[in-house]
């Protein structure tokens, strides 16, 4: 039996398994392409046209437009590939953490510091 057979949700966590990986394939492939500067330039010049090239769903395109990280995760985005999208916008992992948790950047950083108490 696979550990993935336990479907009890882990709060605030999406298991990036086969179902999510299939759902997010085009989205993640688009983000993976952003490892290259030329692709980042092309993305920046017309985000939606670039998304179209990779066959993103309309929901995924909306989430890209809205910088909606949780929405992207729910639609199959993998955080490792989304990091390349977000990084290109100048967001680091703490910015992304703040966005996802609905905290301000300062509040999010404070929460991390408190984990050390």
């Amino acid at each position: 039996m696979s550990y993935l057979d336990d479907k009890t949700p882990i709060p605030g966590t999406i298991m990036f398994d086969g179902t999510m990986s299939r759902k997010g394939y085009g989205l993640n492939k688009m983000c993976y392409s952003l490892n290259d500067q030329a692709a980042r330039d092309e993305f920046a010049s017309d985000e939606m046209a670039y998304c179209e090239k990779y066959g993103l769903t309309s929901g995924q395109k909306t989430a890209i437009k809205d910088r909606d990280i949780i929405g992207l995760l729910e639609q199959g985005g993998s955080i490792y590939f989304l990091a390349k999208f977000a990084g290109g916008l100048g967001l680091n992992m703490q910015d992304i953490g703040a966005l996802q948790t609905g905290l301000s950047l300062e509040e999010f950083k404070e929460k991390l510091v408190r984990a050390g108490d």
Partner: protein, 279 residues
């Protein structure tokens, strides 16, 4: 005969590479983290290993989801670090040891670890940050490196026990190599953290400290956890403990803790640093 002289556990998060590039290691935020490394530098300087086997995970540089090996191992003459898309510095090429890589691969497959053998392998921060931490100023030119990549990005992921056993098999392979070489093994990543979801920012200090304690002489105690357990307890990226377990698996002799450091937070993580000798 080749000999594994010790293991090092270390974080590999990109923010560390950014801090090194900006030369802010001595600022209040970073100091207690970087202060964990001089004892390791001294040990490396006195022990003079020839080879570093580095367990890490590829966060979407070399491997996309089209082909995602559970375990991959480098068998190249050199490894190049490439643009990861969000601005971390690349590092000069890392030199490989093809003969030892192939020896390890031959032994692993014989031992029923069916790894993916890579004659080209782009290296991301999972490997480049530890290289910069162990050999500041990129002074690793005298070292030969064997990268070992463990899937931590897409479920299903290999269990802690499987990763420990992979390490043990690599350890045996190294110790059966005929050349006189001193080998150090790096387990990189972790410790507890979660980057994605509403639970982003989770850190579990108590669990991390327990893991570091057990790693020294009771690693078996950590092999009961499933990947789901680790995700729940230590966060979605807490599964990077697997690389530390693989490192520990390679140490088959008398293991002694020579040094450790633990600091919260470094970026979004509990950052562990550990030096173990293997006699």
């Amino acid at each position: 005969m080749a000999k594994i002289i010790g293991g090092i556990g270390s974080s590999h998060i990109p923010a560390i590479g950014m801090a090194i590039a900006r030369k802010i290691q001595k600022t209040p935020y970073w100091k207690s983290f970087f202060d964990g490394f001089p004892p390791i530098h001294e040990w490396l300087a006195s022990e003079q290993p020839d080879i570093a086997i580095v367990f890490y995970n590829d966060h979407g540089l070399e491997f996309f989801l089209d082909k995602k090996p559970t375990f991959a191992i480098g068998a190249a003459a050199e490894y190049i670090s490439y643009d990861e898309g969000w601005g971390i510095d690349t590092i000069p090429p890392v030199i490989g040891d093809e003969d030892l890589s192939w020896h390890i691969c031959n032994e692993l497959v014989e031992d029923e670890f069916d790894i993916t053998i890579c004659q080209e392998l782009g290296i991301d921060h999972g490997l480049t940050v530890p290289m910069q931490l162990m050999w500041p100023g990129n002074t690793y030119g005298h070292m030969k490196v064997i990268p070992v990549v463990i899937n931590c990005e897409q479920h299903p992921m290999p269990s802690p026990k499987r990763c420990f056993d992979l390490g043990r098999s690599i350890g045996k392979a190294v110790e059966s190599y005929q050349k006189d070489l001193k080998v150090v093994v790096l387990g990189t990543g972790g410790l507890s953290h979660q980057l994605d979801g509403q639970r982003a920012g989770l850190i579990n200090k108590e669990f991390d400290l327990m893991c570091m304690d057990k790693l020294v002489n009771q690693p078996q105690a950590l092999l009961e956890y499933s990947i789901r357990d680790l995700t729940e307890i230590a966060g979605a990226q807490g599964v990077e403990l697997n690389m530390w377990l693989a490192m520990r698996g390679t140490l088959t002799g008398q293991v002694t803790e020579l040094h450790r450091n633990y600091h919260i937070p470094i970026s979004n993580t509990g950052a562990g640093t550990m030096l173990l000798s293997n006699v």
